[in-house]
């Protein structure tokens, strides 16, 4: 390792100067970024599936259009992030292969099923909400392309979060059945949302290094606490109850206390045992396999046209 380059890199980190693709960087920094960015990209792409599940059944044309646009945004986010990761010398093909073979992870929350229309609200409010909580600090991540992708993404995510919350607000102001639907969705999505912040700080192996390199800025538990504090108030406005009997205001801490997360479930879903792990991966594999001849044809056509152009150039 070049001591001088490392010194220079660390100075830049200290001075909050962004690292750019052509800059020297430690191998582990690169690896950590690839892991994190690609995981994030995969999450956007797999995350399309649970919501796409309700596009054809959206209860009004307006909601259908909003939902379509939202899922489309997620595909866009996936694209930005794959591009950001590609600046670190890994191809989209390689990342896709890692996803489909099960070696790369994606956010475990997408292994839960969407069982009612209210889930579109709960995902917007809670899942996108938790994502924003995680991602806003990443807009200041030390790696330039990642930080810039996050800025774009966060803007759209906060829009999605508001839309999700508004879906629930409409339900909660609606009929008894609609309100029950909203409560049921909150019951199912609350705990998985808390899990989105990752293991407790004590069990989070990469966190310290990530914070040192200024990729992460806050610990898992800090962000989770912030999320709980915000959501509790929002749930009160909706008039539905967070399914946690331990949830109560702690005057001393100035925060809400909340119950213990079922970490057994968390690890089990990560290991592949969630209700939809197999379905989600199967759907991606199927899309990839069914798309193979299409990608081949597009490539073959592009090459044919290139040859023609080459010939024209040669002739001229």
């Amino acid at each position: 390792m070049n001591e001088k380059e490392l010194q220079h890199f660390e100075d830049k980190i200290k001075q909050e100067i962004r690292i750019e693709p052509k800059d020297w960087m430690p191998d582990d920094y690169r690896k950590m970024l690839i892991r994190q960015i690609s995981q994030h990209a995969h999450s956007e792409i797999v995350g399309m599936l649970p919501e796409a599940n309700w596009i054809t059944r959206a209860p009004s044309l307006k909601r259908k259009a909003i939902l379509l646009a939202k899922v489309q945004d997620e595909a866009g986010h996936g694209l930005y992030l794959y591009c950001a990761a590609e600046t670190l010398n890994i191809s989209r093909e390689e990342m896709t292969e890692q996803l489909l073979s099960g070696r790369a992870k994606y956010s475990s929350i997408f292994n839960y099923p969407t069982l009612s229309w209210a889930d579109m609200g709960a995902i917007g409010w809670l899942v996108d909400g938790a994502a924003i909580m995680n991602q806003v600090p990443l807009c200041r991540a030390s790696y330039g392309p990642y930080a810039r992708a996050m800025i774009r993404i966060c803007k759209e995510e906060s829009f999605h979060q508001r839309q999700g919350y508004e879906i629930l607000l409409t339900l909660c102001r609606g009929s008894k059945e609609q309100k029950a639907m909203a409560q049921d969705a909150l019951n199912r999505w609350w705990w998985p949302s808390l899990m989105m912040f990752g293991p407790n700080d004590d069990d989070s192996p990469h966190s310290a290094q990530s914070m040192k390199w200024k990729i992460k800025r806050f610990s898992n538990d800090e962000l989770r606490q912030k999320f709980v504090d915000v959501c509790k108030d929002q749930a009160d406005i909706l008039g539905i109850a967070i399914p946690d009997s331990d949830l109560k205001w702690n005057e001393e801490r100035g925060h809400y206390d909340f119950g213990e997360i079922n970490w057994e479930e968390f690890w089990s879903v990560i290991k592949g045992n969630g209700p939809c792990n197999k379905e989600r991966l199967d759907a991606r594999i199927k899309a990839h396999e069914n798309g193979e001849w299409v990608r081949e044809a597009a490539l073959a056509y592009a090459e044919k046209k290139k040859e023609v152009i080459d010939d024209v150039v040669k002739l001229s």
Partner: protein, 261 residues
């Protein structure tokens, strides 16, 4: 005009708007089934975008139909009532829109044949004496122009791509062709509206076939031979697929009637 004639004119106009709304909605519905399952992310985004455009067009036509229905009607209907509370025999969409997506070649061919029809149709509709129809057509025409280009590029790419993609395209075109005939056979409500919307169906068909030929020739594909044509969509006689689409699409409104979402 006496009141019966007014009523009939109103009915024709509503049916006309519904025919265009239903065609866009069902086409958009099918395309939206691709969301999250496209052959590459870029195309997933593109097809979702087109679905969005089509659902937007449908909404405009439904809103206009509702407006006309609501004139001097006590019970007011909304765009959602029209989309979600009619059964299959009341839908007037072209049959081609309700066919299952099949593979990417089938979807692309379907979209190209349909969008090209939409293009020439809207191009005439913008001159309608009915200002609302003309305005919606004008707004939609920009979108549809892009759909024709996008799907046409894919027709060329797949037709002139690999042997496999060519074979898939040939099969797709052959199976879709019988569903292109009804585009050019006016339904009664189209005939009745000819003072307001003057569409020369045989010119439209010529324009359509010329455009299709042009793209197909670049795609090294040929136009199928003359064959028997299916029809019925405009008059509410559909394929067996539409019932399943509606069962899924309308579930929420049927199961929880009369609510805000």
């Amino acid at each position: 005009m006496d009141s019966e004639a007014t009523n009939n004119a109103k009915k024709d106009l509503v049916n006309y708007a519904l025919f265009l709304a239903d065609s866009s909605l069902i086409m958009g519905h099918r395309l939206s089934e691709w969301t999250g399952h496209g052959p590459m992310i870029e195309q997933d985004i593109a097809i979702t975008n087109i679905a969005l455009d089509l659902i937007g067009q449908a909404r405009n036509f439904y809103q206009y139909a509702a407006e006309v229905i609501n004139i001097q009607n006590d019970k007011k209907v909304t765009e959602d009532d029209l989309a979600y509370l009619r059964d299959a025999n009341e839908f007037k969409n072209l049959l081609i829109t309700e066919l299952p997506n099949g593979d990417w070649a089938f979807t692309i061919s379907k979209l190209f044949l349909f969008s090209t029809w939409q293009f020439y149709f809207y191009q005439t509709l913008i001159y309608s004496k009915d200002e609302q129809l003309a305005a919606i057509a004008e707004k939609s025409l920009k979108e549809v122009t892009y759909h024709v280009i996008w799907s046409g590029d894919w027709v060329i790419r797949l037709g002139d791509g690999t042997e496999e993609s060519k074979n898939r395209m040939k099969k797709a075109v052959l199976n879709l062709w019988p569903y292109t005939g009804e585009m050019f056979i006016p339904a009664a409500f189209e005939d009745n509206l000819k003072n307001s919307v003057s569409i020369n169906f045989s010119n439209m068909q010529n324009d359509w076939i010329e455009k299709v030929k042009l793209v197909f020739s670049e795609a090294t594909l040929s136009i199928p031979e003359k064959m028997w044509m299916q029809s019925g969509g405009k008059n509410g006689v559909h394929t067996e697929h539409l019932g399943y689409i509606l069962a899924e699409m309308q579930f929420m409104q049927r199961a929880y009637p009369g609510l805000e979402w």
